[in-house]
Symmetry: C2
Subunit: 196 residues, 2 copies
């Protein structure tokens, strides 16, 4: 009963992550009501991202200039490289304002189940960067099975190159309640305990 | 730290209903990874909807031809008009395959708090349609305060025109559990009880 263009829009919206059939319909009706200038801004923003945003040839993070602003920034500590899985993880680390080094984005994590092996990740580029006076590589892959496997794999490759390899701490998140902490996290928290 | 085009896309996505800052960021990164042809289809679908979809001059439902397919369909029973608030409500009633009459979309509901009065709704057009052999108007506005107020208001306008005015039944939804039924719904369910 819906007009064809609207059905096509709902179909396209359904392909987006986290948007189901109901959500797609609600979004489509919302866009229908939205003033043309606002939908034009949305459409242009999507188009601009596809046209202007690429991956940095050094760290594989996303950027609109190559190399990216972080890689070009002379104030960053070039001796430390923080390895993350996805470009958005860079933003998560940057938010802390603690880390002053450079990044390397793997664009994924090892996952034999999904058929993602070492050759599917940006590992060669990481190894090539180790020569330039790098003293430490911080492995900040996700604290899950894939991220952990990736960290172990990278540690084995990096250590023979004479570089310090560290892994971010796993434990109970700040502000949480021990009552709701799962046993694996609790195990990591006790294992990683430190003197006070 | 994110490229400007990506920040603009996240900002535009955040304006959509039900999409918060985190969801907008996730969607933006997803669109970045999505093949260009798929994002082009999405962009074209939004543009087509804005260009081709309008409101039916008879029932105010959305359509890409005027009058809409439902209003033009000679097989529909032209003696019964089902009044709903929004175009998407037409689809909800159509799904039942029970109703064979026509529709009238108010494009809203009375809401003094939001400053929406009778003149902001498509009521004049409804009254104008009553002449054409219409024998019954089913008020299918939402079962909430605004929808109920709108139904009462319309009933007062329509009854003097000599047309039968009915309201959809309110009660416990099929498949639900009485334990979780709120008291207002339970009240409506008892009030509207029928002989078995």
């Amino acid at each position: 009963m819906l007009p064809d263009p609207l059905i096509r829009l709902i179909d396209e919206l359904k392909r987006l992550p986290g948007i189901g059939p109901k959500g797609a319909q609600r979004l489509a009706f919302h866009l229908l009501k939205t003033p043309r200038e606002q939908t034009d801004r949305l459409v242009d923003a999507v188009r601009d991202v596809k046209e202007c945003v690429t991956y940095c040839s050094t760290c594989n993070s996303i950027t609109d200039v190559d190399p990216c602003a972080l890689c070009r920034n002379e104030d960053r500590d070039r001796r430390v490289i923080c390895v993350v899985e996805e470009p958005q993880n860079v933003a998560a680390v940057e938010k802390t304002r603690e880390f002053k080094g450079l990044y390397h984005v793997l664009l994924g994590a090892l996952s034999p189940l999904q058929g993602i092996g070492p050759d599917d990740l940006k590992i060669k580029g990481l190894l090539a960067r180790i020569g330039d006076g790098v003293t430490e590589v911080i492995l900040a892959t996700n604290p899950n099975v894939e991220g952990e496997a990736t960290a172990i794999y990278l540690a084995r490759l990096l250590k023979p190159l004479g570089v310090r390899v560290t892994r971010i701490a796993m434990g109970v998140p700040v502000g949480s309640d021990l009552e709701y902490t799962d046993e694996v996290t609790m195990h990591k928290a006790i294992e990683g305990r430190r003197e006070v």
